[in-house]
Every structure is written in C-alpha cells, then in structure tokens.
Symmetry: D2
Subunit: 183 residues, 4 copies
C-alpha cells in the first residue's frame, strides 16, 4: 500500500509532560528520527515550554491570549497528524497534558485529524489506562486514534543513551509508524 | 443502619476546576450544606486557590515546597473522606484537577481512604467518562470510590440561584450522601 | 473530499444484542437504508442468529467449528468496515456482543479494519461507557474506531415506527456516516 | 483494625470464564484457601456451570426461569461480598462474564454490596482494562469495588502446580484480602 501521508504533512509529536526528566522527550526524539528516516518531517511540541502561569493565564476566558502559547497553539491548529508520548502518572496521563488540551482551540484543532499514542512508564503498565483515557478524550474532541498503541513499560530497563534497547519495542514502534503513515 | 462516619471526620469537598465559573463551586456548597444538615462538618477545597505558577513550581521535584500549597496539601493528607465535584471538560475531567492530584503526597493522601464523585456538565453526559477516568485514577492511588456517582447533566436548566431545581437530582444527591456516610 | 470507500466494500452492521427487542435491529436498518441511499451496500449481522449453545460450543477450542457460525464468522473476516449498534446493558455493552467478538477469528477479523459505533439506550447515557469499553477492545484487536460515536439516548421518546424522530439524532447519524465513508 | 466481616458472611468467588482452562479456577481456589486460613468461608461460582443454552434461555424475558441457573442466581442475590477472578480476553473481560451479570437479578444482587477484582493474563497487562471496564459496570449496578485490584500478568511464568510462585504476587494477594475483609 502506498502511504497516504504526503511529504508536506508535518507530524507534531507532543512530549506529554512538563517534568524535567529525559524519558518522554527522549522517546519523542526517537520517533522524530524514525519519521525522518522515512522522509517525513516531524516537530516536537515540548510541554516544558508551557508558560509558568499556564493554569492561571492561558485557559478558559484567557485561552489563546497568552503570548507564550501563540506558536504552540497555532501548530496544533494547523497540524493534521499528532503523535502523543504519554508518561504514566498516578494511573493515567499527566494533568498537564490534559490542561494543555483544555487550552487548545476547539474544535478546529481536533476535527477529523489523526493521531497515534505511545505510553511510557517505569512500572509494568506502560500507561494502558492513560492511553484509554486519552483515546476517550481525543475521540470526544473529534480526532481519530490509531488502533495500535505502543506501551513502553519498565522504560528504565529498556532504554540506554537515548535509544530503545528492547527488540520487541523497536518492532512495535516500527509497526506503529508504518500504520500511522497509512492511517 | 447507623452511619459509620463520626462527627469528627471532616469531609473535604474538592471543587474540581480553577475556572471562574459559579457552577462547580455552587454544587460544592450544596453538598456542604447537606452534610451540615446531617451534623457533618465539610470544608471546600477550591482549585481556584492553586498558585498561579502551580505547574512550574509545585509538581515533581517541587511537590510540597510551594508555600501556596502547604495548607491544601496538608488537608488532603489528613482528610479521610473526599467528595469530588467534577465538571466535564473535553470529554473528561479538567486537566487542573489531575494536575492537583499529581501534586499531592503519595501514597499517604490516598491509601484506603474513601470518596464520592459528582459530575457536572452543561451537556447531556453529566461527565460519565470523566467519573470513570477519575475512578481509575483514585483506585490506582488506593482510594475507594462510592458506587453511586451522581451526574448532574444539563446543569444550566437544572439549577437556579445556587439551588438544584430538578427533583430527581436532589433525590440522587440525598441517596449518595446517605450511602457515603455509611461507606 | 471524495469518499475513499469503493462501491464493492460492503459494510457490515452488527446489531449488538440477541434480545428479542426491536430497537437495535431497527437502528441497524436505519443505518442500512442510509448507506443504501449513498450507493453503499450494507448487510446486517444479527446476534439473534447466534446458535443457542454458542457459549458452550462455539468458543475457545470450538471457535470456528460450529456450523451455525460459519457464515457470520466468514463475513466478519472478509468485511473491511463495520458499524456496531450497541444497546446499553448494565452500564456497558451486552455480554453477548463481547462473547461474539471472543468467538471471531483473531487477528484476521480485526487488523487495520475500520469501524463506527452507535450507542442506544432507554436511559440518558446513550451508552457512553459501553462505547468507551468497546473502543478499548476493538483498538486492542487492531481495528480503528471513528472518532464520532453517536449516542441515541432515551430512544423510546426519539423513535417512532422504525424512524428516528429527533432532528439532532438524524443529523448526527448523517455526519457519522459521511465521516465513516471517508475514514 | 478489627475486620468488619463476620464469620457468617460467606464470600462468593466468581471464576470469570467458562473456558476449560485451569488458570482462573486455580486462582479462585488460591483465594478460597487464603480466606479459609483467615477463618472466612468462601465458595466458588464457576461459570463453566452455566447452562449450555444460557444466551438463548436465561437472559432478558427468561432471566430467572432457567432451572440450571436457580442456585447460582440465588447465591449472587444473597451474597454480600464477591471476588471476581477475571481472565483477560481481547483486551477486556470474557463476554461470558458480562452475560452472566446481564442475567442476574437487578438491582438486589448489586446494591451497596462490596467486591474485589483480580485480573489474570498470559500477557503483560494483567487485565488492566478488563478490571477498569468491570469496575464501571459494577459501580453502575451499585456495587462498591475495592481500590486495590490485583493483576496477575504473565501467569504462565508465575504459577506452578496450582500455586503462585511470584513473591510479589503473593504479597499483593495478601494485602488485597486483608483490605477486602475490612472494606
């Protein structure tokens, strides 16, 4: 099958936490590189770049007015394909990721767009519930979710120097990317 | 059956958004009054009181250090029974509510405590998925959730001057409170 | 946008209960007619046609051997697009629907296929949780789920003589079908 | 803390599949023995005992009429505490388990009763989504679910001759049982 993604369709990779840890961002870079190898352009949206006063000054009545959010919000509005890298916090995704979604332009950011989900955890779950919850939210907002969701559990054991060392994980990532390009 | 809740067990009601809207807070006050009528003490924890820079300065490595959070965090640690009032945002609960949970002391805040959930929405759902997601999270953290979850859908039509005008809703609230006291 | 569904791609509509009630089947026929008006062929798979001894004789080691299931199972294997009509039973989908899925050929029936979901309920939920659970299952099995899920709540009030009388419901059905053809 | 469960409160353990495999039933027996060691009486309800024509003759209009179900249904109505042993099938619980629930007496079987959930899987999930779905259903029906849900993943590696060989698993089972007795 010929990929339906055109070269000009940039993929936005959302690194789903503002925590100063390397893992979600490292996984985002791994995906970015994989897309690049396939000739696709990808850009990382890093939630560490959210304004410090995001909760107070960039939501609800203030949505769209915070200067520190203009770029990020515009990219989410224009992008057609998203890949969410989702660390598991307290049995679901980080609150900051949902807060980020709550501040986006609705419904333009979401309607009939497509996304893929990757869960990351230090424990054995790989964010199974986090990805289920996020699927509910994205579907509600109008975004289609790729069936194959990759769960990178026990990431501490399975990553080294910014690379995934687990063979199965690399295969799952590869399958997911290929399916995502045709989705 | 005799209620198992003792007079000295204060109930904390979490008003689950930092949005400057009246509804979640109004519903929190309705519950507070109902508890009071039954001789129970209840106190509202209002997420509008979160520090403006909460996401940047009160999570992860900083959890527990922000002066603006000391009280709130202590109450959540000491409280034994919680009632969450949860408005529906984008098919789930507000990101700020999960971010609040992400900043609490784990596991002391949660282990074997008990809570009840109330969903509030302008639309017809009443937060069904929001309450399901929140149940997953609270259960994961170790907190038991009362089976009966009240969903106050189309709240605009069913509330007037800070009171619920829908008879069924009032009955559901009443049942829930009685079950919660025996839970 | 030109629909990506070709005339030869028959859509299978799964009427998701074996109960002798008219509603799910009636909704299935409504969808079938809508597809027909758009020049698409659709066929209903009616769970009332499952063998009486399905649980005992058509699952696990027996999967694929029951003569009464050969046709149904073959259609599910060959079909590329499915529409599930899902009545709400006890806060989720009917057990018989999941039992039906448990008896299908895995993974051929599911991998990279596409489906749309419709919830039906006498109560106010419209099967919100049922559709969320079913999305988890279908995604797990490899099938992509259309973001827009139609929830036909309080169906008793909103249907007459086999037709939907609620204008909004008809519009939602229409939108869903159009999005499904392009999905 | 003194257990709130009295000796006379028998615990019903639902072995959640009708499949002729040993695992769910073996796990049910492990729990039964643990309860016994604590002086509690437990009885297993084995879904293999469902009538062969259950789907056709024991649901909906026929609920409660099938002779082969009279006992099982009565026990579920009288029992106050349930433990569900739930194997993971296709990303959730077995259809037969939900079909069993669909055939019980509603609401008497469920209202304000208490249950605990155990997931069993050959894969790495341990039924995380299965237990989430089942929690939604049981809460909807009125039954409180113990926060701690035990997930016995990769059960093939972690069980031998009817005993759990994984130390952590045994500890989790122990904690769960103790919490359940006080729940």
């Amino acid at each position: 099958m010929v990929p339906t993604t055109r070269m000009e369709d940039k993929i936005y990779i959302i690194s789903g936490t503002n925590r100063e840890e390397a893992v979600s961002l490292a996984v985002s870079h791994i995906y970015k590189n994989e897309f690049k190898l396939l000739g696709m352009e990808a850009e990382i949206i890093d939630l560490r770049d959210l304004p410090d006063n995001y909760l107070a000054a960039a939501l609800y009545e203030n949505a769209g007015t915070h200067q520190g959010m203009v770029d990020m919000r515009q990219k989410m509005k224009e992008g057609q394909k998203f890949l969410f890298v989702v660390p598991e916090y307290n049995g679901s995704f980080p609150g900051v990721l949902k807060a980020f979604i709550d501040g986006l332009k609705f419904p333009e950011t979401f309607t009939n767009k497509k996304c893929a989900l990757v869960g990351v955890s230090s424990g054995v779950q790989g964010g199974a519930l986090a990805l289920s919850h996020l699927t509910d939210i994205l579907n509600y907002c109008g975004t289609h979710v790729l069936a194959r969701k990759v769960r990178l559990a026990e990431i501490g054991k399975n990553m080294k120097e910014g690379l995934i060392t687990n063979k199965l994980y690399n295969q799952l990532i590869n399958w997911q990317i290929n399916e995502f390009l045709e989705f």
